[in-house]
C-alpha cells in the first residue's frame, strides 16, 4: 500500500512538473517598459495593461509591465542599475545623447531591420539615421508624432470674441500685446498672461539649444552668414525680443506678480492664454478637455532639427538579452502597425475609457469621463502618435501635417550632437548661473536690459566661452567631415 502511495505521489509530481514546463514554454515574454510621466502614474494603469497584455500575448507573445517615472527618477534609476527592458528617452528627459554615448542602450542597427522590418518601414529613413542614431549606430526607436516644433498660443475663445478680438491662425509674438491690453481693460480682476516659473511652455523652442538655456543655434539664422554658429542666448534677436517683451508686459501688469515663484498655474484655472508646442488642429480637441472653448494660433515654426525629431523615443537596455530586445522591438512594431492595439495604450479599454464613433467617414475615438480622468497622458508616452485614432472633436490628417513640414525651417547642424564631457565643470557652473535667472527671464520678472550685463559677467566667469569654443570646435569638425 505504502509503495503504491509513493508511486502515485512520484507520478503526480512528475506530471505537474511536466505540465508546468509545458506551460512555461507557452508563457509570453515579459518586458519592463519605463515611461515618462509628468506627475503621477494614471489611476487605471492595471486595467489598461491587462487589456493590452491579453491582446499582445495573443498576437506576438509579449506582455508588458509599465513603470511610470518622472525626470529625476530616470537619472537615478538608470545610473544605479535598476533593471528595465525598454525605456523612454529623448532630448529633454532621460537624455538620449548622454546615455547612448555611455553605452547604456542596446545597439539595434541590424536587429531592427532583421527582426522587425515592418517597424523599420513605418517611418522615413531619416528619422532612424538622424534621431535614433549616435555615431552611425541606431540606439533608439523614434516615436512618430509631430516631428517639427511649432509654437502656439491657446486663447480662451469666448472671452476674446466677447470683446471683439478674432483669433488669427498665425501671428507673431509681439502681436500678443494689443490682445493683452484689451483683455486687461475688459476683465479687470484677471491677469491676461498667467504663468508659473516655467514661463510660456515652448517659447524657447525657436532655437536649438546646445547647452542648457545659454548656448543656442537659432533656426531663423539658417541660410544666413550666421548659420552654424553657436551663440550665447543674448546674441539671438528672437530670444531677446521675447525676454524684453515679457519684461515689459510684467511691468504693465499683464503677468501675475508671483509668476517666478509659483510652480505652475494649475490646469483648473481659467487662463486667458496658455502656450505650448503643438500642431495645426491640435487645439480643436483641447476644448473638451479644458472645459472651455479654446482656439490655437501659431506664432513660431515649424522648425525641424535633431532636437525636435528626438522629442520622444524608446531605447532598449544594453544589458537585455537578444530575446528580450526582439520582444521590445516587436512590441513597438505592433504599436506602430496595429491601430486597435495602439488605441488600447493610447485611450484605454474600449467601452470603459472610450468608444468608437464615425465622424465624416473617419473612425474616431470618443473618450468617456473615466478615460479623461483615469487614463490621461501625453500622446507620445505609449508609442506612435500617428498610428493612434484621432478623437471625435479633433479630426485631422497626419499626412497633411507631415506635408506641412516640407516648408519647415530645417536646422543646418545636421546630425551633430554636442558631447560635453570635457567641459563638464564649466557646464555645471553655467547651469547654476542660469538656474538663478531662468524663472525671472521666462516670466519677465526682471528688467532684462538692466540685468543682462550682470548675467553675462557671471556666465563668463563660469566659463560660458570655454563651452562655446568647445561646442563650436566639435561642430566645425563635424561639418568638415561631411
Amino acid at each position: 500500500m505504502k509503495k503504491l502511495l509513493s508511486l502515485v505521489l512520484v507520478l503526480s509530481m512528475v506530471l505537474t512538473m511536466g505540465l508546468s514546463i509545458a506551460q512555461a514554454a507557452e508563457e509570453p515574454t515579459k518586458i519592463i517598459w519605463w515611461l515618462y510621466a509628468a506627475s503621477d502614474a494614471p489611476i487605471d494603469t492595471q486595467l489598461v495593461v491587462d487589456a493590452a497584455n491579453k491582446y499582445s500575448a495573443e498576437k506576438i507573445g509579449v506582455e508588458v509591465e509599465l513603470v511610470f517615472k518622472n525626470d529625476d527618477q530616470f537619472g537615478l534609476d538608470m545610473n544605479t542599475g535598476v533593471y528595465y527592458d525598454m525605456t523612454f528617452t529623448c532630448d529633454w528627459a532621460n537624455d538620449f545623447v548622454t546615455n547612448a554615448a555611455n553605452e547604456m542602450f542596446y545597439d539595434i542597427t541590424d536587429l531592427v531591420k532583421t527582426a522587425t522590418p515592418a517597424l523599420y518601414a513605418s517611418m522615413e529613413e531619416k528619422y532612424w539615421t538622424n534621431a535614433g542614431s549616435l555615431n552611425g549606430k541606431i540606439y533608439a526607436v523614434p516615436t512618430l508624432k509631430d516631428m517639427a516644433s511649432q509654437q502656439f498660443f491657446r486663447f480662451d475663445k469666448d472671452r476674446f470674441e466677447a470683446i471683439g478680438i478674432k483669433i488669427p491662425d498665425y501671428m507673431t509674438f509681439a502681436e500678443l500685446e494689443p490682445m493683452l491690453k484689451a483683455y486687461k481693460e475688459n476683465y479687470t480682476d484677471l491677469y491676461p498672461l498667467m504663468m508659473g516659473k516655467g514661463g510660456l511652455t515652448g517659447m524657447n523652442n525657436s532655437a536649438q539649444w546646445i547647452a542648457g538655456t545659454y548656448l543656442c543655434s537659432p533656426y531663423h539664422l539658417a541660410g544666413t552668414d550666421r548659420e552654424n554658429k553657436i551663440i550665447p542666448f543674448w546674441e539671438d534677436e528672437v530670444v531677446m525680443e521675447r525676454y524684453t517683451l515679457l519684461s515689459k508686459w510684467y511691468r504693465m501688469g499683464y503677468i501675475n506678480p508671483d509668476a517666478a515663484t509659483i510652480e505652475s498655474i494649475g490646469s483648473d484655472i481659467r487662463a486667458a492664454i496658455r502656450s505650448g508646442s503643438a500642431w495645426p488642429g491640435y487645439y480643436k480637441g483641447y476644448s473638451s478637455w479644458a472645459g472651455i472653448n479654446v482656439e490655437g494660433s501659431c506664432y513660431a515654426g515649424p522648425f525641424m532639427s535633431l532636437a525636435t525629431m528626438r522629442g520622444a523615443m524608446n531605447a532598449i537596455n544594453a544589458a537585455a538579452t537578444e530575446e528580450q530586445a526582439i520582444a521590445c522591438l516587436k512590441y513597438l512594431e505592433l504599436l506602430s502597425t496595429d491601430r486597435t492595439f495602439r488605441d488600447i495604450l493610447r485611450y484605454g479599454v474600449e467601452g470603459i475609457h472610450f468608444n468608437y464613433e464615425e465622424v465624416d467617414g473617419v473612425k474616431a475615438v470618443k473618450r468617456s469621463e473615466q478615460g479623461i480622468k483615469n487614463w490621461s497622458m501625453d500622446a507620445f508616452v505609449t508609442g506612435s502618435v500617428v498610428n493612434a485614432s484621432v478623437t471625435t472633436d479633433a479630426i485631422y490628417d497626419w499626412e497633411e501635417i507631415f506635408k506641412g513640414y516640407e516648408k519647415a525651417i530645417i536646422s543646418t547642424l545636421g546630425t551633430w550632437s554636442f558631447v560635453g564631457t570635457d567641459v563638464e565643470a564649466e557646464m555645471a557652473a553655467c547651469s547654476a548661473v542660469m538656474a538663478k535667472y531662468n524663472a525671472e527671464l521666462l516670466t519677465g520678472t526682471i528688467d532684462i536690459e538692466a540685468k543682462l550685463p550682470e548675467i553675462k559677467a557671471e556666465l563668463e566667469q563660469a566659463g560660458i566661452y570655454v563651452v562655446q569654443a568647445e561646442a563650436q570646435r566639435q561642430l566645425d569638425a563635424y561639418l568638415a567631415g561631411n
Binding site: G75, M78, T80, T261, A432
Partner: protein
C-alpha cells in the same frame, strides 16, 4: 654592560606595571552588559554611517554605470579615477564667496541664538510655579520640531503670499501697499533666522531642561537659606552646571557650520530666484547645480569638502572650549 642591565631592569618594571594595568582592565560581567547595551547604537553607526562611507570614492571618480553589471562593479572597476577634478566645479561658480558667506554667517547667528534663547527659556520655564503651564509651554515650543520644512513652507506662504497672504491682507486693510515678499531679499535674513529659531529651539530647550531638572535641589535650598535671589541662584548654580551641556551643543553645532538646513533655505523660500543672494547656501547650490545633470561625482566632492572642513572646525572648537574650561570639552 651596566648600562644595558639598567635598561633591562627598567623595561622589566614597565612590563610589570602594564601587567597590573591589564589585570585591572579585565573584561568583567558589567562590561559585557554595557557592551551589549551599546550594541544597537554601534550597529546603527556601522550600517548607516561607516559602510556608506565608501561613497567617498565618488568624489575622485568619473562615475559611469555599466549596463548589466552591479552598482559596485560600475563604481569601483568600470569608473575611472579623475583625481581632484571634481572639486574644480565648485570654484568655477561666480557666487562661491556669496555662498560661503551665507552658509557661515547664518550658521554663526543660529549658533549664537541656539545657545542663548533655549537656555534662557529653559530656565524661565523651570521657574514657573504652575507645573501644568510649564508642560503646556514646553509642548507647544517643542511641536514645530516635528513639522517638516515642506509643511512649514506652506504655512509661511499662507502668511506671505503676494495676492492672498495673511500679512498682505492686513497691510492692505490698514491702507498700505502690498509687499512682494518672495521678491524682496532684504526681509529674508530676518525671516529665515526667525523660522529657524521657531522650529529648533524647542528641541534644545528640552535638553537644557532635562539637565536643570537633574541639578541637586539641596544646592538651591542652601542658596535660599543664604538669602540668594532667583537671579543669583541662576547665575551661581544653574548656568555653571549647564556649562558642560552648552559646550557640547556648541561644539556639535560648530561641526555643522558648512552644512545648512536644505529645507529651510530651499523650501521655505520657495526656491525664489530673486532671493538667491541671501538664501543660497552650499547645499542649495549643490542641489540646484546638480539636480538636472545627475552628477553624483560633483555632489560627493562638495559633501566631502563640507564634512572635512566641519570635522576640522569641530576639533578646533573642542580645543578652544577645553582651553577655556578643561572640564567642558566633548572629548
Amino acid at each position: 654592560m651596566a648600562f644595558l642591565r639598567k635598561s633591562n631592569v627598567e623595561s622589566l618594571s614597565l612590563k610589570g606595571e602594564a601587567a597590573i594595568r591589564r589585570k585591572r582592565r579585565r573584561f568583567t560581567w558589567d562590561d559585557f552588559e554595557l557592551t551589549l547595551l551599546s550594541l544597537p547604537t554601534v550597529l546603527w553607526f556601522i550600517a548607516f554611517c561607516y559602510i556608506p562611507m565608501f561613497g567617498i570614492v565618488f568624489a575622485f571618480k568619473n562615475y559611469k554605470y555599466k549596463p548589466g553589471k552591479s552598482f559596485m562593479y560600475s563604481l569601483f572597476v568600470h569608473s575611472k579615477w579623475v583625481g581632484l577634478k571634481n572639486f574644480k566645479f565648485l570654484f568655477k561658480s561666480p557666487d562661491i564667496m556669496n555662498i560661503f558667506r551665507n552658509t557661515i554667517c547664518y550658521n554663526l547667528v543660529f549658533i549664537c541664538i541656539g545657545v542663548t534663547v533655549p537656555v534662557a527659556l529653559a530656565i524661565m520655564i523651570t521657574q514657573l510655579r504652575s507645573r501644568k503651564l510649564a508642560k503646556v509651554c514646553q509642548t507647544s515650543v517643542f511641536l514645530p520640531h516635528f513639522l517638516s520644512w515642506v509643511v512649514v513652507s506652506y504655512f509661511v506662504y499662507a502668511f506671505l503670499s503676494t495676492d492672498k497672504g495673511l500679512i498682505n491682507s492686513i497691510i492692505v486693510a490698514l491702507g498700505g501697499e502690498r509687499i512682494m515678499w518672495y521678491q524682496e531679499p532684504k526681509y529674508w535674513p530676518y525671516i529665515l533666522i526667525f523660522m529657524n529659531t521657531w522650529k529648533t529651539f524647542g528641541y534644545s530647550m528640552v535638553v537644557y531642561m532635562a539637565t536643570i531638572t537633574g541639578i541637586d535641589n539641596s544646592l538651591y535650598e542652601s542658596a535660599v537659606i543664604d538669602g540668594a535671589s532667583k537671579w543669583q541662584q541662576c547665575k551661581g548654580i544653574t548656568i555653571p552646571l549647564l556649562r558642560p551641556v552648552i559646550s557640547i551643543m556648541f561644539i556639535m553645532n560648530v561641526g555643522n557650520i558648512f552644512a545648512s538646513d536644505f529645507g529651510l533655505f530651499f523650501q521655505v523660500t520657495r526656491d525664489s530666484n530673486s532671493l538667491i543672494n541671501v538664501t543660497q547656501t552650499l547645499d542649495v547650490y549643490v542641489h540646484k547645480a546638480l539636480m538636472q545633470s545627475n552628477n553624483y561625482n560633483y555632489s560627493s566632492a562638495v559633501s566631502l569638502l563640507q564634512n572635512t572642513a566641519g570635522c576640522i572646525l569641530l576639533l578646533i572648537a573642542n580645543r578652544v572650549v577645553k582651553f577655556i574650561d578643561p572640564e567642558s570639552g566633548l572629548f
